[in-house]
Each structure stands twice: as structure tokens, then as C-alpha cells.
Amino acid sequence: MLDQSAFDLRRYLTGNAQTTGVFVALIALILFGLLRYENFGSAYNIASFLNYNAMFILISIGMCFVIMTGGIDLSVGSVAAFTSVVAAYLSPYGIEVALPGGILAGAAIGLLNGFFVVAMRIPPFIATLATMLGAKGGALIISGAQTVSIDWTSNFTKLGMEKAFGIFPWAIVIVALVAVILWVVLEHTSLGRTVLAIGGSEDASKLMGLNVNRAKFFVYVLSGGCAGLAGVFLASGFGAGQPLEGIGWELSAIASVVVGGTLLTGGLGSVPATIAGALLLGLVFNILNFENGRGTISLSAYWQMVIRGAFLFIVILLQSRMSGPVASPKEN
């Protein structure tokens, strides 16, 4: 993993039983959808599916980096809600201000997470739980617990509504760009290697002279920034800042990362497999909607929750079958 020097697709498909599983499952589900539903492969369905899932892909990638260091970021959902409100308030100044403003607001909360974890040595679970409550409170305070509407004449709404080069929504283009950059950072920079090394063994990484603290700050700021950008998409896509959104997003992001084959103990992880995991979980919903649309079954939102949980259960079962019993995280 560490001395990877060139792109090798085969490695992603065969290198690790857990990442293989997610790609195989994703391809199988796509084939199933294509064969069963007429409009499944339509440009409209693909674009709207990706547009809706862009936010979840983003926070999943950020979460993947945090989890690779053996940490966790529970604050992402609240941060996205918070930055959607910030972006909505900044939208009159145009997209040039609102977009970086939202990202910076998220990164600032990420910096606070990094401070709690690195400087105060508070366990990531607790530190990010606290910023989750704080960001949720902050979003409700500055918005007065109301959605913050965005002026439709502002060019900010173009981000969520208009298409780049007339093909794909801007959100998808930006997420693809972020994903490629972070993929390169993880696989080809010393920072990325440090992130992986910390998850392998933090003590060993320190002894090797790696800048562990800097890398840990980096992953929390990155995760906060990704959640910040997701909040900007949320605001522009719905035309309003949404202080009450984001509940449970952290758990879908964790699920995407785990479905993508990453262990919560860290030291292992891949950007493409995480994206595949997020797409897989999103696709289950997309297919359920198609089934509903056909009128063959009538599933309420409640059933969808049950099926989503059952699906997660199946993926976990398959993973533990394929990889054999994994080492317990508490073998210290």
C-alpha cells in the first residue's frame, strides 16, 4: 500500500478481499437496475442520482481519511447543516464568497476537532460528539431554527441547479475533482502515507519521525472542509440554508467507509472503494424508488429504513465471511 507508485486498476479490484466485494456488489446492482428498469440508465436518472449523492460521497471521503488514522468524526452532519446556513447568509455576496465561506466554516470546526484530539488528547469519538452538539446548536442559534432562504437571482443557486458544460450538475464535477485530488494525496504524498501509518501504529509512526500531529490536524480539517462543502451543496440544491438537516449523515458516511472495506481501527483505506460504498448505499434507495414507481411493491419510508439496515447487515456478513474473523480492535 505504501510504495504504490503507479495507477493499477487491478490492484483495486483484487488487492483486498474487502474492497473487491464492494466493487462486485456495485456492478451487480447496476446490472440488475439496467436490466430491470427502462429508465435506470437514462441521463436524467444518473445525473439526479449523482447530484443527490454528491454530498454523501464528499463527507464519506473526508470520514475515510479520519477513520484511516483510527479516529472518527461524528460532527459531519451538524457541520453540513451549519455551513448550509452560513452559505445561505453569504449568498447575497455571490458564489465567490458563499462557496469558500461555507468550506472555511466547516474547516474551522474541523480545526477545533483537531485541537481537541491532538492538543487536549480527548478521544475522537467524544471530541467530535461535542462539536456535533455545538455545530447543531450554532446552526439553530444563527438561523433561529428556521430555513434561511436564498435569493433566486443570486448566482449561488447555479451551483446546485445548473450544469457544467451542459452535461453534469456542478456538484458532481466539483466532487469528482475533490475525489481525484484526495486520491492522489493519499496514494502519492508523504502526508497520505503518514495518515495510513498512524492508523497502522501511532507509536511506531512517531518513532519513525513522522509528523503525526500535523497529519491528524489535516484529517479533521479535511473532514470538516468536506462537510462544509457538502453544506454548500445542500443550501444551493434546496435553495435554502437547512439548520435541521444532516441528522444521521455521520452514520451513513461511516457505513459507506466500512462498506468500502475500511476497518474502523484504521491503517487501511481507499478513496475509490469509499466512493463505491457511498454509491452502493445510495443505489439501494434508488432501486427501491424504482420498485415503488413500478407499483409492484409499495414501500413506505419506514420500510426503506428497515431494508437499509438489513442491507448493511448483509454487507457486514459478506465482509466478515470474505476476510475471515478480523482482529479485534481491543487486542492491546
Binding site: 472518527i72 481537541f116 487536549m120 488528547r121 480527548i122 478521544p123 469519538f125 467524544i126 471530541a127 460528539l129 461535542a130 462539536t131 456535533m132 452538539l133 455545538g134 447543531k136 446548536g137 450554532g138 439553530l140 442559534i141 431554527a145 444521521g248 452514520l251 461511516i254 457505513a255 466500512v258 476497518l263 474502523l264 481501527t265 413506505s300 419506514y302 420500510w303 426503506q304 429504513m305 428497515v306 431494508i307 437499509r308 439496515g309 438489513a310 448493511l312 447487515f313 457486514i316 456478513l317 466478515s320 474473523p325 478480523v326 482482529a327 479485534s328 480492535p329 481491543k330 487486542e331 492491546n332
Partner: protein, 332 residues
């Protein structure tokens, strides 16, 4: 002569030192006394019995769940599903005692309304514990499945409807009084004493703490690691089920979408404020009760003094960070 004169001074120093040690060891208790004194001075009607009863009835559910969470945290795990399990148990009970069976056999129906939901909750715990013990699934992920689908199952069962009822026998759980004090308060004390005995006086408790301290060592020493871990999750879920019944009994209504919402966070926060270490190995049962009381009183203090709900969230975040930071200091 000097010896006899120095000894009172030495005694004084020793007393101060032991007081500082006492303060460090009992930070929670001191915080509680400070909050109570603040309320007596500034909050109108704080000493009114009605205020006392309101606080007891609100703290009871958090306390019951926090005691169970403490057991799971003691094994180095975490249980995110407690809120969903509460919703499941809380949705089941009214379904049972309003059924035609309960109309025909009132006493049997009432007994079933208490027993069946708790049994279902225990099964949820068995599911969580089995995933953690037999498949080595990380606790966050294992309990994430029920976190997602448990509330969905509850909503499927009730069709998402709000169930209202008036049932004297069942409501005793929420509104009954013994010696003038709410029944739930006595229930919390009974549960806490029972679980304290289990942790500190039974073989199960000895194994539980050993596993949390060092799982490998406990296994090598012959502890039945799997059974004890499953036991912790089963007890945690069972207590969550009881808490779900209490909430429904207090409100004389059951709304599967709201019962136990965000309870996992309150319970984790109470356990940690009460002195549980997320790495495991400690199970301060009465600490968890103390933590629950502190969190409830802070919430009450802010609301009673006109501070908005949102700000109370931020305050809760601050308490969690402060409590864990002080713990870290104590360990080093």
C-alpha cells in the same frame, strides 16, 4: 517540642492535599453541588416539590439507559442502538395492552405489555452482542444496523401513527408514587443497586472489567469473553427497553419517530461524565447516575433561566469536553 508543634501544621497540609485529591476524584459530585446551589440562589421555584418531580421523571430514562451503556462501554464497546430499541419497546407496549387479547384478559394483557417489549429489547441486545462477539464486527457498526432499522421497524409496526391511550395500570410506571416520590425514581435506584452488585460482586462483573481492561489477557486467563460481551449488550438493550416503556407511560402516548431520539448521545455523555473510560475497564454505575443527573440539571437550569434550547446543546458539548479532559489529566 517541634514535633508536637509541627504536627497540626502537617495535619493541615495533609488535609488540604487530601481535599484536592478528593476534589479531583469527585469532580462530578462537586459540579452537582455547584449546580444545585446555583439553582437554589437563582432559579425561581427550584425548591418546589413539583420541580423535583419533573426532574426525577426526566432524569429516570437517561439514567436507566446510561447504566446499561456503562456496561457496554466497560467492555470497550459502544451501543448506538439504545434510542431505536427504546422506540421499538415503546411502540410495542400500547399495541399489546390495547389489543383485543388484553381487553379479554386485562391482567395478562398488562403483564404482556411489560414483558414482551422488554423481551424484544433483550433480543436486540442479543443481535448486537452476537455481531460483536462472533463476527468481530466493530461495536459502532454492529449497533449502527439497529440504529438505522430499529426505529423503522417500530414505525412499520405502528404504521407511523401516534398512539395515545389512557391505561391506569400501565401509566403507573410513569406517574405512580411510592412514599410520595415518583415510582420511576425508585426503579432507577433499584436498577442501579442491582447492576452495581452485578459489576462489583458477581463473577460476570469481574470478567466484564477484566475484558475491558485487556481482552487478550482476559481470554488467556479463561474468561468466557464472548458470553460476557453478549451479556453486556443484552443488559444494555433490556434497560433501554425499560426506558422506552417509562417514556411511553409518562406521556400516555407513543410516537415511534420521537421516543429515545438522540438518547444514545445523552447516555454516552452521562456515562463519560460519570467516569466511564471509552477504552473500557471501568464501570462506575453510580457515576453514570450522577452524570445523568448533571446533564439533566444543566438542561433544566438553562431552560428555567430562559436560555434557549440551542444554547443548551452548546453547553452540553462544553460539559462533555471538560469532563473528559479532566479525566485525561487524572490518568496521567
Amino acid at each position: 517540642m517541634s514535633a508536637t508543634e509541627a504536627s497540626p501544621a502537617e495535619k493541615g497540609v495533609m488535609q488540604i492535599e487530601s481535599f484536592i485529591g478528593f476534589a479531583k476524584r469527585n469532580g462530578g459530585l462537586i459540579a452537582l453541588i455547584a449546580i444545585i446551589l446555583f439553582n437554589i440562589a437563582f432559579t425561581p421555584n427550584f425548591l418546589h416539590p413539583q420541580t423535583f418531580f419533573v426532574n426525577i421523571s426526566q432524569v429516570a430514562t437517561i439514567a436507566v439507559v446510561a447504566v446499561g451503556m456503562t456496561l457496554v462501554i466497560a467492555t470497550g464497546g459502544i451501543d448506538l442502538s439504545v434510542g431505536a430499541v427504546m422506540a421499538l419497546a415503546g411502540a410495542l407496549a400500547p399495541l399489546i395492552f390495547t389489543s383485543s387479547f388484553a381487553e379479554a384478559y386485562p391482567m395478562l394483557g398488562l403483564a404482556a405489555a411489560f414483558v414482551v417489549p422488554v423481551l424484544v429489547a433483550l433480543l436486540c441486545g442479543l443481535f448486537n452482542g452476537s455481531l460483536v462477539s462472533f463476527l468481530n464486527v466493530q461495536p459502532i457498526i454492529a449497533t449502527l444496523i439497529l440504529f438505522i432499522s430499529g426505529r423503522g421497524i417500530a414505525q412499520v409496526l405502528t404504521n407511523g401513527n401516534l398512539q395515545t391511550f389512557s391505561h391506569k395500570g400501565f401509566s403507573y410506571l410513569g406517574t405512580g408514587k411510592i412514599l410520595g416520590l415518583p415510582f420511576q425514581g425508585w426503579l432507577v435506584i433499584a436498577i442501579a443497586c442491582l447492576i452495581w452488585w452485578l459489576v462489583h460482586r458477581s463473577l460476570f462483573g469481574r470478567y466484564l472489567l477484566a475484558i475491558g481492561g485487556n481482552e487478550t489477557a482476559a481470554r488467556l486467563a479463561g474468561a468466557p469473553v464472548r458470553r460476557v460481551k453478549i451479556g453486556a449488550y443484552v443488559l444494555c438493550a433490556g434497560l433501554a427497553g425499560i426506558a422506552g416503556l417509562i417514556v411511553v407511560a409518562i406521556n400516555s402516548a407513543s410516537d415511534a419517530a420521537r421516543i429515545g431520539n438522540l438518547m444514545e448521545l445523552d447516555a454516552i455523555a452521562a456515562a463519560v461524565v460519570g467516569g466511564a473510560l471509552l477504552q473500557g475497564g471501568r464501570a462506575p454505575i453510580f457515576g453514570a447516575i450522577l452524570g445523568a443527573i448533571i446533564i439533566q440539571l444543566v438542561k433544566y437550569t438553562l431552560l428555567a433561566n430562559g436560555v434557549a434550547d440551542e444554547v443548551a446543546l452548546v453547553a452540553k458539548a462544553g460539559i462533555i469536553i471538560a469532563a473528559v479532559y479532566l479525566q485525561q489529566g487524572r490518568k496521567e
